[in-house]
Amino acid sequence: MDVLAGWWDDYFWGAVVVGKVFFCSLALMIIFGLLGAMAKLSNSRVAQKIAGAYTVVFRGTPEILVVLLLYFGSAVVLTAIAQVFNPEIKFVDVPPFWAGTIAISIIVGSYATETFRGAFLGVHPGSIEAARALGMSDLQTFVYVRIPEMWRLALPPFGNHMLSLVKDTALISIIGLNETMFVAKQAITVTGKPFTMYIVVGAIYLGFSTVVTLFVMGAEKFGERTTVGAK
């Protein structure tokens, strides 16, 4: 076990990176998912087709490919876009943290789109009618009726999406992000003990997964607090 001495703090910082990626990608994933769901539920055929393409493309492509593509391709695409605005700019670069975070948000977002869509469809029509009868505007209906019912329906699969985000972070190590897998690779170069190093990585991720799972369980309890007869 003393082979790990000196590496604990590196692992700690690697875990911090995992946490940062998680929170950033969580926010982005919710944004992408909501946008996609609303596009699919909207009346615009164009929006539906675009959202449809979004889900098909990113549910059918391996995550590792999306990460690699975004890492290499993003700089070129963004530079081209930026040069339209300001020809002085020689390049715009997306560091591995963002390339990876955006990549996994887009991927899990495509699953979240389906989850949110199903959840929105699951809102009782009766509740919407009641809101109309009370004279609520569209915005009020959305905020006070749709969202509260919808997030409770979406919670179990959404919990799975959060877990996917945690685990997909390991893939970003392949483009050089200094999270736990990368720390392990460096440690192995010096210590030559791959099993030990990777087990630590596994334990760290298991820790994160546990925290997320507990959070989801807590959120479910919170959601049910006003429901009579909840199991």
Partner: protein, 230 residues
């Protein structure tokens, strides 16, 4: 950003040579994973604590850690031990393909067992009561009632998992396997043209996924042929 079509046309056949390996990983891991999942499922619903708890722990660990980590532990980690290298399993563990199949099966087994359990729990109690009323034993009920209904219920979620498994096979490239992704990475390293290669590779995977979805759609239609009233 110049898009080198010529490169894609030249590289696609090379990458498709890896499709055999991708397919092999998918099918073998899928089958082994399913068998493992059934075992885990039976352990989970057995009601016996000494079967239930270990199964739950196994599922918790394998669903809570990234598949990449699991692959690395099996391939790079296990040979650290002398005992592994001298065991009878070494011929399998020596081969990267063997390690990939092992890791993928262990992983998908955990996920699929939860999916199957969801299917089993979804079987209507009324139907089971009808079985009891007809004098069926617990075994008979499980085989003739629960299994067909649970299979049909679990199928959509299972098809999602098979597609996930397909995407996970791409990770085999990180342990030297020359599957489609592995070949693609070698081509990229030689030609320094990442986007043409990776985009065309992504298209190949999407086509593969589409095919799988269609296949499962047919199976679902066939199994659900008597429930079409909905």
């Amino acid at each position: 950003m110049s898009f080198d079509l010529q490169l894609i046309i030249e590289s696609l056949p090379v990458m498709l040579m890896g499709i055999g390996i991708t397919f092999k990983l998918l099918v073998i891991s899928g089958v082994l994973g399913l068998l493992l999942a059934i075992c885990l499922l039976l352990m989970r619903i057995s009601g016996l604590w000494y079967l239930n708890i270990p199964a739950q722990i196994y599922i918790y660990v394998f669903r809570g850690t990234p598949i990449l980590v699991q692959i690395f532990i099996v391939y790079y980690g296990l040979p650290q031990f002398e005992s592994v290298r001298e065991s009878i399993f070494w011929p399998i563990l020596r081969e990267p393909t063997g390690c990939a199949i092992l890791a993928l099966s262990l992983n998908t087994g955990a996920y699929v067992s939860e999916i199957l359990r969801g299917g089993v729990l979804g079987v209507d109690k009324g139907v089971l009561e009808a079985g009891s009323a007809l004098g069926m034993s617990a075994h008979q009920k499980f085989i003739y009632i629960t299994t067909p209904i649970a299979t049909r219920l679990a199928l959509p979620a299972y098809s999602n998992d098979v597609i996930s498994l397909l995407k996970s096979t791409a990770l085999a490239s990180t342990i030297t396997i020359a599957d489609m992704t592995g070949i693609a990475r070698t081509i990229v390293a030689d030609t320094y043209a990442p986007y043409e290669i990776f985009i065309s590779l992504a298209v190949v995977y999407m086509i593969f996924t589409f095919g799988l979805q269609k296949l499962f759609g047919i199976i679902e239609g066939y199994l659900g042929q008597y429930t079409k009233r909905e």
